[in-house]
Subunit: 261 residues, 2 copies
Amino acid sequence: MKQPCTVVKIGGNILDDSAALDAFLDAFADLEGAKILIHGGGKIATAVGARLGIEPKYVDGRRITDTPTLELVTMVYGGTINKGLTAALQSRGCNAIGLTGADGNLLHAVKRPVAAVDFGWVGDVRAESVNTGLLNTLLHAGLTPVVAPLTHDGHGRMLNTNADTMASVLARALVPFFEVSLFFCFEKKGVLANPNDDGSAIATLLENDYLQMKTGASLSGGIFPKIDNAFAAVRHGVPRVMIGEALALLNDPDAGTRLLP
Amino acid sequence: MKQPCTVVKIGGNILDDSAALDAFLDAFADLEGAKILIHGGGKIATAVGARLGIEPKYVDGRRITDTPTLELVTMVYGGTINKGLTAALQSRGCNAIGLTGADGNLLHAVKRPVAAVDFGWVGDVRAESVNTGLLNTLLHAGLTPVVAPLTHDGHGRMLNTNADTMASVLARALVPFFEVSLFFCFEKKGVLANPNDDGSAIATLLENDYLQMKTGASLSGGIFPKIDNAFAAVRHGVPRVMIGEALALLNDPDAGTRLLP
């Protein structure tokens, strides 16, 4: 029987709230078995960017990663946030090791091809590019990877990569080796049947029903990429994929919305 | 017989010169056997600090690490420089993994006690605090640690630690496991007999002779901490400790100044 491995993705709603972050880290450090934390950005990137005079850039309403933005996220995601989380987990007895996709060649990416929009220094990733040898070495040594949403192109360039996508491909790549659970944590209790009713979290969501909800616009659009990444993991064999509040998911395996094929 | 392991420390003179850095990284990537790179800061920390409005702080002429400075070095050393070097080595086929002392609890430090000067968030380290289990795991997996001059206090706080000191304690800690060479790279060909003559590099330096040079003021003072760290490694059994120019040391094992007990 494969050993369990829990892959947890957290975003700005936790990173920006020190009390919520402390409570989350306590619970994450207490999780039994192999585990991986993937973190997104948060307000600190915007705040540091503003102090450095780096304005968020948009083309046709899509956020793009120009060179100053790449330098900013490399500093803030790879330095400030990643090392802050690593030191905080170490203080809780969890042997965390902070990584980007460049470290140990964890995750090699391809710069997104320029089409209608040039997204700049954005890296697209595939589960086949995950260095599972490295992950197995680290996890079997009792280490807990803490992964920043950064990859590299193999030519010396760091790339900005969506944290939900990284969580999805890392979880998928570990399926042959571990009994993987993948938790996408956000500010809601789960996928809401009614986006205006926080109490309407769905216990289970089938992909076909999701596709209907998507066309029916009964979901708020911002959550689509997260759910798409979650279903990609479901389709590729991750046995347990959950969306919901971080603490609720860590404390109760049945909290949140479970995504099913 | 123990396998060789080369521990190389580089500072601003290489980090700030992209042609010199490229040449160094080419040679470092080509080095056979286990190896570790420790890097210092460089002008980029000062430049980013200036853009963020963080002024270098001095008390009684000694540089101190206040909270804004700690945030700055965590970003720039742990993010910008560490990930830049890691991605650059990956592009050269060297399986680099960027680390701070917090990552995998590589190096735990103690905040320097407040005496005549409060140095702020500065971490003092001992060779006994190096996590040799982690280093052995990584080195035996074919990974090359790239270490930023940052440690952690075990209570969730990152600390600023001198890169020469980190190189010294990492090298000393590896002596039971590897045949360690330790290279301190700087802008000169070695320790100069005459500080005004760049051609006067000494081939070998005994500690007693160094102590005499030190009191005789025949060395420029800025190099004392580097040589002190180097002799600390010599005293603790590191068999080969060299000071000199990076490329020269990597290309010719007899270049530079060899420190002897």
